[in-house]
């Protein structure tokens, strides 16, 4: 396995790519079918080598380690599915899964409904206005989760904007991030803020593919905005919506940067998402915490990976928009 080889130099994969023109030139007199093979292999070599070392290798290594007890002093000892059993009987693992699901349930439908409304509205605007709005809506999507966390930490301070705002309605002050009840919803807000821009643009692209005539004839029949949304837009964008829903879920369930910076997973595990649980276990220096955390990671993400393969098949096999 490439992983086991401590190679100091990592330049060769890149250099091999860069050297392609010269080695190609030297080969111009080789038979044609060989030539194409050589060129093809040289062109995919950097990609294949890098993916082997940094994705496929670590993935295989993770599966290997999840079956062995590794210890600094002894040779690895095969323990079968022990680690899997430990993880599956750990209450914290299941509670992190529940937190991840709750977080996804808060973020994904909210962001999707918001995006659909925004996209439908932006579509009705003039070209110039919609161009500007598209850019504005996209801006939060490029902000780093760290910056977003810091902004919302500031907003959730005792004397911060959020408490002023709820104070307007006579409630108040809330210890947003310090109460197990409000902490997760408080983290979901920046989650939505970071997510809605991309889905709005994707939905807008889908909306523009729906012929105007559909809406015109609905208007003649006296349909209002919501009726048009329900009877035309949503059925025709079914696949795009499904795609956004499922990818949104797999992404949201993996979220960990927001809780890592805003609450460190607290109070009392209320914001420890699955990825954060894995990350914390990894940094924990208890014996076998590494094997434990990577086994948990494998368990969770084999499932999520399978889900995303399914979506990928769905999306690439079918037309995204049935217009």
């Amino acid at each position: 396995m490439s992983v086991m080889n401590p190679t100091q130099e990592l330049v060769p994969p890149l250099a091999a790519g860069a050297a392609t023109p010269r080695s190609r030139r030297a080969d111009t007199r080789a038979p044609k079918h060989l030539r194409s093979n050589l060129t093809g292999y040289l062109m995919i070599a950097p990609m294949v080598i890098l993916l082997s070392i940094f994705v496929i290798g670590p993935l295989g290594y993770a599966f290997y380690l999840s079956g062995f007890q590794i210890n600094f002093y002894q040779a690895p000892k095969f323990v079968g599915l022990q680690f899997y059993r430990f993880v599956l009987t750990d209450d914290d693992f299941w509670s992190s899964l529940a937190v991840g699901l709750k977080f996804a349930l808060m973020v994904v439908p909210t962001a999707l409904v918001l995006s659909l409304l925004l996209a439908s509205f932006i579509k009705t605007l003039t070209k110039r206005a919609s161009g500007t709005l598209k850019t504005i809506v996209y801006v939060p999507a490029v902000v780093s989760p760290v910056v977003a966390s810091v902004i919302f930490l500031f907003i959730y301070q005792d004397e911060g904007f959020a408490n002023w705002f709820v104070g307007l309605f006579g409630s108040g002050p809330v210890a947003w991030l310090n109460s197990p009840v409000s902490a997760l919803p408080a983290i979901a807000v920046p989650g939505v803020w970071l997510a809605f821009g991309v889905s709005t643009l994707i939905l807008l692209a889908g909306l523009l593919d729906i012929p105007d005539s559909y809406y015109e004839s609905a208007e003649l029949d006296g349909a209002n905005f919501l009726q048009k949304l329900w009877y035309i837009t949503i059925p025709l964008l079914k696949n795009v919506l499904l795609y956004l829903l499922v990818t949104g879920f797999t992404l949201a369930i993996q979220e960990y940067q927001l809780p890592l910076i805003m609450t460190q997973g607290g109070p009392v595990q209320a914001t420890t998402t699955p990825s954060l649980y894995i990350f914390k276990n990894f940094r924990d220096q208890t014996p076998f915490s590494t094997s434990f955390s990577l086994t948990a990671a494998l368990l969770l993400f084999v499932v999520l990976g399978a889900v995303s393969i399914l979506i990928f098949r769905l999306v690439s096999s079918d037309k995204a928009i049935d217009a």
């Binding site: 392609t20 990609m47 890098l50 993935l59 902004i151 969770l300 393969i309």
Partner: protein
């Protein structure tokens, strides 16, 4: 007529609401940077500062660690973007245009990583780079993420749509595959390159957990790592933290504004992503 002006009024309100939702957190952060210690956390809410004070921005820019983090991260992000455009477009071209032995196998090999979430291999990736002696180098930040299945896939879709005739004509003229790629395909790739290039730049610039794991050398501290450390060490200096966060977010926002046309079309171009 009356209904029309009502609809227009509603439109204006909605536009204002969208702009507010999208930009308020960023504007609020920027404003906090201009406020003094007594003003930054104060009820009742006041958007603009009583006294405009650039002290926080000046102070943070005089922190050598902050400036170094910005510069080091920027240099890394540029190198990362260039390297990933090169590696991914080269493979994308080969998969779109060439025929070679076991192509189907290599295609699956390069696409599978798309479905491997980063967290699943975080631990073992760390072990790999540690064993390769890459900890505390720029290489550990740049190299592991360069090859990206999703970007390669995106670029390949683009190259598949190129007319075959162009390539055939060039081949008859005796141009090598390499020449066809660099002289014909690369110059035409501006739009998809901007889209995936921005994605690469953002991925590098915004990354936090990987640098936290692999970098302990203060000379190589990345900008998000700097902000994270600042938050845990000096988290109550809100004005200064907000000024730093504003400056850290600035390059990404500027990038979007410069390339807005490409990004908005890119969503269409990529179909799905």
């Amino acid at each position: 007529m009356k209904q029309n002006s009502g609809a227009r009024g509603l439109s204006v309100v909605l536009v204002a609401l969208i702009i507010l939702t999208s930009l308020f957190p960023l504007a609020w952060m920027t404003m906090a940077g201009f406020k003094g210690k007594s003003e930054v956390l104060r009820t009742p809410f006041q958007f603009f500062p009583d006294v405009w004070n650039a002290k926080n921005y000046v102070d943070i820019m005089h922190d050598p660690a902050f400036v170094r983090a910005m510069l080091v991260t920027f240099a890394g992000a540029v190198a990362f973007t260039v390297a990933s455009l090169f590696v991914n477009s080269l493979a994308a071209y080969a998969f779109a245009r060439l025929d070679f032995a076991f192509k189907g196998f290599w295609w699956v090999f390069c696409i599978v990583p798309m479905f491997v979430p980063a967290m699943a291999i975080l631990v073992t990736s760390f072990m790999v780079v540690a064993r390769l002696g890459m900890l505390n180098t720029m290489g550990v930040l740049i190299i592991p993420g360069v090859a990206s299945a999703i970007q390669m896939f995106f670029l390949r879709q683009f190259y598949l749509n190129f007319p075959m005739a162009v390539e055939e004509a060039a081949q008859i003229d005796g141009a090598s595959r390499w020449k066809i790629f660099t002289r014909i395909f690369l110059p035409q790739s501006k739009a998809p390159f901007v889209v995936v290039g921005i994605a690469s730049f953002l991925a590098y610039w915004n990354s936090y957990v990987w640098p936290v794991l692999t970098i302990t050398d203060p000379n190589l501290t990345q900008i998000m790592q700097y902000l994270g450390n600042f938050r845990s060490d000096r988290g109550n200096e809100w004005g200064l933290l907000m000024a730093g966060a504003t400056l850290a977010a600035l390059p990404t926002v500027i990038l979007v504004l410069i390339f807005q046309r490409y990004i908005v079309n890119g969503v269409r171009l990529g179909g799905m992503k």
